[in-house]
């Protein structure tokens, strides 16, 4: 009997473990599968002999962004400062491929040498010289051309999008949850079998001892026994409580929140590619509690000159013009004086003209597709800049706020950026790689507290901390290596809640 009850206890413990395991399985971190580098098949014939060189379009993308993207449109079809690059190899196909390579590396030299294609391109582009890139290797140029071609023909974007799709779906594919369920199922069956065996043994033992019993218990009676049901209930309560508390504590937290913005502003382009300092636009971060979404006139500092985007063309940048009342049309290039009093039709006239002119510049003439684009872009401008609470196009852009702290939590950017010298990326993640910004950190209290526990204050070189005499002595005599935020009261309630 003692043995029997031991077995029963043991199987109960096993069941409890099973439940616990299944819970942990839910927490298993999803693994993200990196997309494989894209290999372009349309790579040009390698030069300089040696083994076959495989063009790496991804490397080409990076090189393009770092070297070419400032002047050449990354959609490869529209001109920017420099001409569109799409189909460049075809245009140079009359000449040996080496000419194109030397053109890319040092175009000035090629023009001076009198190369007919070089001179023609030079004249076609208002005799503007392209910068020389002596640091590019042949492999680099091959990669760039592969990327250009990939984008132009659409193969690169498609593969990349597919790759991204794989990556974003990657969270679910490699789940090993099913194994856990199989193991759980197996163990559950095992437990039932064991209990059945146990019951039979007990029945036999009882019969041998001459005790009258009803017969061995059926599987059904085992499953509906008081013990099994109470165990199940207990497990459910524990499980329910665990899940409720865990989820309730995270209610309203928005980690990974990635809303669609009224303007498809790309941090990847601005902060990553063009390396604009975060604080150029978010100029509140160093001096205010808010980092500040830049005012539209901050955008206009650059976009008075850069009027067509590399990715969306006129679709997105025109929204800034429409919000701030800037007339981008040729010969205008200035703010509209009585913009506030203009009607929607008048505004429409100004900006559809601009979109149309731009379309004509890029495509030669205004066709049906062009008209559709104009309509689409104007609708985009209208829907982005108006809302039920803001019927007019003029006025501030209603961005969607991504990082929302609750009202009772006080956070000050200046404290962290100017005093603590914390990098923006520490909390906001690699924004320079985000096409659409998402909330990187959980912004939970535990997350804040943990950072305050671990982060050391810039203690020694700021005279403000002079009054912490004891710490200074300890730092001097070596008994302390640093002072964390916690040690100067960084965990106290009224540092953030008041």
């Amino acid at each position: 009997m003692i043995f029997n009850s031991f077995i029963i206890r043991f199987s109960q413990v096993i069941l409890a473990f099973l439940v616990a395991f299944s819970l942990m399985a839910q927490d298993a971190t999803p693994q993200v599968i990196e997309g494989d580098p894209i290999v372009s098949e349309s790579a040009p014939v390698p030069i300089g002999g040696g083994g076959p060189v495989i063009a790496d379009a991804d490397a080409g993308k990076t090189l393009f962004r770092n070297n070419c993207g400032t002047c050449h449109n990354k959609n490869m079809v529209a001109a920017m400062t420099g001409p569109a690059l799409g189909g460049v190899q075809e245009r140079w196909s009359d000449y040996p491929i080496e000419d194109l390579y030397s053109w890319i590396k040092n175009s000035t030299a090629l023009i001076e040498s009198g190369h007919p294609r070089a001179v023609q391109v030079y004249n076609d582009n208002n005799r503007a010289l392209m910068q020389a890139f002596p640091n590019l290797s042949d492999k680099d140029v091959t990669d760039i051309l592969a990327y250009v071609d990939g984008v132009y023909t659409g193969t690169y974007g498609a593969v990349a999008a597919a790759g991204a799709g794989v990556a974003s779906a990657g969270g679910e594919t490699p789940s090993n949850k099913s194994y856990f369920y199989i193991v759980i199922g197996f163990l559950a069956v095992l437990a039932i079998v064991l209990t059945k065996v146990l019951s039979n043994l007990r029945f036999l033992a009882d019969r041998e001892a001459g005790i009258a019993t009803k017969g061995p218990r059926s599987v059904w009676s085992i499953l509906t026994s008081k013990g099994a049901i109470s165990l199940l209930l207990f497990a459910l309560v524990i499980l329910g409580g665990f899940v409720t508390v865990n989820n309730a504590i995270g209610l309203n937290r928005q980690q990974d929140y990635q809303p669609e913005q009224p303007i498809a502003f790309s941090h990847e382009t601005h902060a990553g590619l063009h390396k604009i300092d975060c604080q150029y636009c978010h100029d509140g971060a160093r001096r205010s509690k808010h980092s500040v979404i830049p005012a539209t006139n901050t955008c206009m500092n650059c976009h008075k000159a850069v009027k067509v985007g590399s990715k969306h063309g006129t679709a997105e940048i025109t929204k800034i013009f429409a919000a701030s009342g800037f007339n981008p049309n040729t010969g205008q290039d200035k703010y509209i004086e009585n913009y506030d009093s203009l009607s929607e039709d008048e505004i429409k006239a100004i900006y559809t003209t601009w979109i149309a002119n731009n379309y004509v510049t890029e495509n030669g003439k205004l066709d049906r597709r062009g008209e559709r684009i104009i309509d689409e872009q104007w609708e985009g401008i209208k829907s982005s800049l108006t809302s039920p609470t803001k019927p007019r196009i003029q006025g501030p852009i209603e961005w969607v706020r991504i990082h929302n702290l609750p009202d009772h939590a006080y956070f000050n950017h200046a404290q962290h950026v100017t005093v603590g010298q914390v990098e923006c990326q520490t909390c906001h993640g690699p924004v320079e790689e985000m096409e659409v910004v998402q909330q990187y950190s959980p912004l939970s209290m535990g997350w804040c507290i943990n950072c305050h526990r671990e982060t050391e204050v810039k203690f020694a070189d700021n005279p403000y901390y002079t009054s912490y005499a004891k710490y200074h002595e300890e730092l001097k005599d070596g008994s302390r290596t640093g002072v964390t935020v916690e040690e100067i009261g960084g965990l106290e309630c009224q540092k953030c809640h008041y």
């Binding site: 309730a248 209610l251 006025g395 209603e398 009054s467 004891k470 009224q494 540092k495 008041y498």
Partner: protein
């Protein structure tokens, strides 16, 4: 030291009222259930509100709703500027120098704006007049800007209907009416030189034009007297800081009279003493019948009936100057003695003394002038060189206007600003009738008023925070009013209206700048260019310009037409209350909910009645009214008004008092229907000057009781002493009675609680010695402690503390309103206050001591003491309140579950519980508080919410809150120092109460810094800690209240 045994807060306290003792032992006072049930209104509300079933329904719903609401986070928008102004950084406050002006009230201010909206008024420390102080009215003025009741656009009324109109049509009509016709402009005191100039320009258009200026609380008497003596109709520039002795006949110069912030600042300079040297202290003697606010701060009060004031002045004149007739005797023999003694003291202090009076009688003011002249005070303690322009009204002028109106000769009447003759004149009813004889009446005002409602055209004017303006409050002192926000409504400044009708349209800015360029700039020598002059004026908020001083004509004063004593049995005096003033401030809920310093009542005017105490337990009350809040009918001539009574110590037998400024019938939400209006009962003397007393009032027996009578005097009391029956009737601390029975002689608990300390200047050394021994005893007691020593923990970094000088604190309440504004403290309304539910983080306790007939008063600002051994912290079950390493007693609202143990355990009773939802922050309307019988709480309106400080959490229902020592300012100051990479300097951080204080009584700073002002003050011999014997180790020190009583005046108390 004469530590008087008798310190009391009210008649109940002196008479050991059992209900009071019971009530004050409970932190959370509840009406007995039966009382509450008997209150029909409560029953009605309950049945309409939440029953048990409703409760269950709500419970179920709330669970579901909360779950649903929490699942999906709403999408929040963030709107950046289109073109960001350079001066604005979102999240960082911008400050502008400006001036608070309302009629004759003036205060130089700095306006704090956030994202372009003003949220707080601070004092302008650069101003030579106030040196940074403010009044409660200035502090509260920012709320008026966001008043939902403001007039929103020009309108025309006729036949009972109001129609909105455009400016052009109305301007055309008004211009046509003005041109060639008789124009009268009616205004309260107007200190704007530009507006005066514009009125002159407009006068040229009219056939006959006159500006009629009057003040409801008038100073015509003193203006006339100075016109006669000096040829200047102005109020002298007083220098209370140079006067050794001030004898004052009923002028409330610390609270409401002319320029109280300036005077309080001067006065306090001679009341704050260093160490135990009381020799520099001035002495204030007040002659009055009721305990006025200034009287409560006086060293001596001499009781005279209101009608005897003239005689008393004449007697003093006779004793000093000689001559004149001063026949007749004062009903109070002590007053006769006092006048004799004072005459001698004044003569001894000739040139360093000051006699003034709030009398509106020209003859009496002439006598005052003669006394000051005789004493050689002109040029020393007062002068006519830079006289005050803060009262300009001429009482009789309104009577002339009234006659003209009745005669039908006035074609156009412009009523400007707060001028509200229908309400604030004794002839209000007649004025209303006469208005129909005027072909065009135009109101140019901000808020609806009794007079505005009767005008044919209303042209709303902007709030002072929305418009440009200029002020000339005193001599050559010119201040500027700067706008800090775009006008919220369709309003137009008075100045621009005048200019349009004068045919010279200009913006207010251009006109003021032009006026300053031509009229003021040439009279100054500091700046070479006008631009420099103008820019520095905008920065500083003011400019001093040399002024041609009219040579005084100095005629000999003296005439016999002083008021003759009435010899009636009962007299009543009327005074201007601190909060609502002459009635113009009635619609400001912050001011309505600021307790009157003396009566401690809110949201009402009350009848002060006298009481007599036999020194033991018997009281003799006027009409046997033995309970504050009992209702009586007050009959004054024709009119009868019902008022609640307050038994007022220091009220002379046979006299009553009540406040003007209440009983508005056309105002906003907060002002309408509060209290009763007594302007109609004022009379005029032979010269037409208003008389602020009535000699034949009659008061009925008790006719009822005001169930919502809201006096905060018995709320949140600390430490009441009582007689112990077991020990020969010895006075013990009744709070500790329960503890005492457990075991005798345990430490400290039987000591009389050390709440406030007071002394007289001549006993200061003795008192300081006594205090030293007492504190040593407390220290000894405190050594026997269970608490571990944490001085190591608190010794590093900052340790915030405060020092409050009770000698300098005059109890004006501006700190309380400033705290309300800074910390988003809600208003709760009269009914809630009557239930002890007021929310103010800071209160000013009032104690009486000394002679029961003319007691001295101590005002003690009481806020969270931030105890290092805080008793509130260790009883919190969820650790929502705990201590910071900087010595702050912290409160985490989101952690608080509302057990209220902390409030029960707080010895200072400074914690406040959010009984209701004052901000519409939770789900159920049943929890909301609607002080004005509106459907939504006061702070639920989006316009009103604009006044909230975005750096301070708005608390919801069910949590405790309390003073945080303005932790948001501390954090801001620290951050600034860190970012600028420097040590935090003393004075970098100032709390809201500190900046508001007109006398500099409150000093905040770092106690760990031995050189900070606060730590120096806390080492002063007069410093003590409230309830030090309880070993709570509070961070706030109080400096003993010191009076400068003379042994020779009113020697009855000895």
């Amino acid at each position: 030291m004469k530590q008087k045994e008798n310190v009391w807060i009210s008649p109940e306290d002196l008479g050991r009222d059992q209900d009071l003792i019971k009530a004050s032992q409970q932190e959370f006072y509840n009406l007995p259930v039966l009382n509450q049930l008997a209150d029909e209104q409560v029953m009605e509300e309950d049945s309409a509100g939440t029953g048990r079933r409703d409760f269950l329904k709500y419970l179920g719903f709330s669970l579901g709703a909360a779950t649903l609401a929490a699942c999906e986070t709403p999408v929040r928008k963030a709107l950046p500027y289109v073109v960001k102004p350079d001066s604005i950084v979102p999240g960082v406050a911008t400050y502008y120098a400006s001036s608070f002006v309302r009629g004759g009230d003036f205060c130089p201010v700095i306006v704090k704006t956030r994202e372009g909206r003003p949220i707080k008024i601070e004092g302008n420390t650069m101003s030579p007049l106030t040196e940074g102080g403010t009044s409660a009215r200035a502090q509260a003025s920012v709320l008026d800007l966001y008043d939902v009741g403001r007039l929103r656009g020009p309108q025309r009324s006729g036949d009972g209907a109001v129609e909105n109109e455009g400016w052009e049509a109305l301007d055309k009509e008004i211009s046509a009416s003005i041109s060639g016709g008789t124009l009268r402009i009616l205004t309260h005191t107007n200190m704007s030189p530009s507006e005066h100039h514009a009125m002159e320009l407009l006068a040229a258009k009219a056939g006959d034009s006159k500006v009629v200026t009057y003040d409801p609380i008038s100073a015509t008497g003193i203006l006339q007297a100075n016109q006669e003596t000096f040829g200047v109709a102005a109020i002298p520039a007083y220098r209370f800081d140079l006067a050794d002795i001030v004898v004052n006949f009923g002028a409330d110069f610390l609270g409401t009279w002319v320029s109280p912030v300036e005077y309080a600042n001067q006065f306090a300079k001679r009341r704050k003493i260093k160490g135990i040297d009381g020799s520099q202290m001035s002495r204030l003697v007040q002659f009055e019948s009721n305990m006025s606010y200034t009287g409560s701060n006086a060293d001596h009060r001499v009781l005279i009936k209101p009608s005897e004031q003239g005689l008393a002045i004449a007697k003093l004149h006779h004793a000093i100057v000689g001559g004149g007739s001063a026949s007749g005797t004062l009903s109070n023999p002590k007053a006769e003695d006092a006048i004799r003694t004072l005459a001698a003291e004044l003569k001894a202090a000739a040139g360093r003394s000051l006699v003034l009076s709030g009398s509106n009688n020209k003859a009496e003011q002439l006598l005052i002038n003669a006394i000051n002249q005789n004493l050689g005070n002109y040029g020393n303690t007062l002068s006519m060189e830079n006289p005050s322009r803060q009262r300009q009204g001429a009482d009789a002028a309104v009577l002339e206007l009234l006659e003209e109106m009745r005669g039908g000769s006035v074609k156009t009447l412009l009523i400007c600003g707060d001028a509200n003759p229908v309400y604030d004149l004794p002839e209000g009813a007649a004025f209303l009738e006469a208005m129909s004889q005027v072909s065009l009446t135009v109101a140019l005002t901000e808020m609806p008023s009794e007079t505005q409602a009767a005008c044919k055209i209303t042209l709303p004017t902007p709030h002072f925070l929305e418009s440009w303006g200029d002020v000339n409050p005193k001599g050559g002192h010119y201040a500027i009013v700067q706008p800090t926000i775009e006008p919220l409504f369709n309003t137009r400044p008075l100045l621009e209206s005048l200019l349009i009708w004068a045919g010279q349209p200009a913006t207010a800015y251009d006109f003021i700048q032009q006026h300053w360029r031509t009229a003021l700039f040439p009279n100054q020598s500091r700046y070479a260019t006008f631009q420099a002059f103008w820019d520095s004026t905008l920065h500083d908020g003011y400019a001093d310009v040399s002024q041609a001083v009219a040579a005084p004509t100095l005629s000999a004063g003296g005439s016999s037409s002083v008021t003759t004593p009435a010899n009636s049995e009962l007299e009543i005096s009327f005074y201007e209350p601190m909060g609502v003033g002459n009635g113009a401030y009635a619609n400001n809920p912050w001011l309505q909910e600021m307790p009157d310093p003396v009566t401690r009542t809110v949201w009402d005017n009350v009848l002060h009645i006298p009481l007599k105490w036999d020194g033991r337990s018997d009281f003799e009350y006027f009409q046997n009214l033995n309970k504050d809040g009992d209702l009586v009918d007050v009959t004054l001539g024709e009119s009868q008004k019902q008022l609640p009574v307050v038994r007022q110590f220091g009220q002379m037998q046979g006299t009553l008092a009540t406040a003007l400024g209440y009983g508005r019938t056309h105002s906003g939400k907060a002002g309408t229907g509060v209290g009763a209006n007594f302007y109609a009962s004022l009379s005029r003397d032979a010269g037409g000057n208003l008389v602020y007393f009535h000699t034949s009032p009659s008061v009925s027996k008790r006719v009822g009781h005001d169930d919502q009578f809201a006096s905060v005097q018995h709320h949140h009391t600390l430490g009441i002493t009582g007689k112990d029956e077991t020990e020969d009737g010895k006075v013990i601390n009744v709070d500790e009675k329960a503890l005492m029975t457990l075991g005798t002689g345990s430490q400290g608990i039987l000591t009389k609680r050390s709440i406030f300390r007071h002394s007289n200047a001549d006993h200061l050394a003795e008192s300081a010695e006594h205090l030293k021994h007492e504190r040593e005893h407390h220290q000894h007691l405190n050594e026997q402690t269970l608490y571990p020593d944490r001085s190591d923990f608190y010794g590093m970094g900052h340790h915030w503390g405060m020092s409050v000088d009770l000698s300098a604190c005059i109890g004006c309440g501006s700190c309380q309103v400033a705290c309300t504004a800074e910390n988003n403290v809600p208003i709760v309304g009269k009914k809630e206050v009557s239930r002890h539910h007021e929310m103010t983080w800071m209160r000013i306790d009032r104690y009486y001591y000394g002679d029961a007939e003319t007691p001295n008063v101590v005002y003690q600002p009481m806020m969270c003491q931030h105890c290092d051994n805080a008793p509130c912290e260790n009883v919190c079950p969820v650790a929502a309140t705990n201590h910071s390493s900087e010595g702050l007693n912290q409160m985490a609202y989101n952690r608080c579950v509302g057990t209220r143990y902390c409030a029960n355990n707080c010895p200072y009773k400074v914690r406040r519980f959010n009984w209701l939802d004052y901000n519409a922050a939770d789900l159920f309307p049943a929890n909301e508080n609607d002080p004005f019988d509106e459907t939504t709480p006061y702070y639920a309106d989006n316009l009103t919410r604009m006044v909230l400080n975005p750096d301070v959490t708005v608390r919801s229902r069910g949590v405790i809150e309390k003073c945080s020592m303005c932790v948001q300012r501390i954090q801001e100051g620290k951050l600034r120092a860190k970012a600028e990479r420097r040590e935090l300097a003393d004075g970098d951080i100032k709390t809201a109460c500190q900046t508001a204080c007109p006398t500099g009584a409150i000093v905040f700073g770092d106690n760990n810094d031995p050189n900070s002002e606060v730590s120096k003050l806390q080492r002063d011999v007069k410093n003590y800690i409230a309830l030090e014997e309880t070993n709570v180790r509070s961070s706030i020190g109080y400096l003993m209240k010191v009076t400068n009583k003379s042994a020779d005046i009113n020697p009855t108390e000895a």
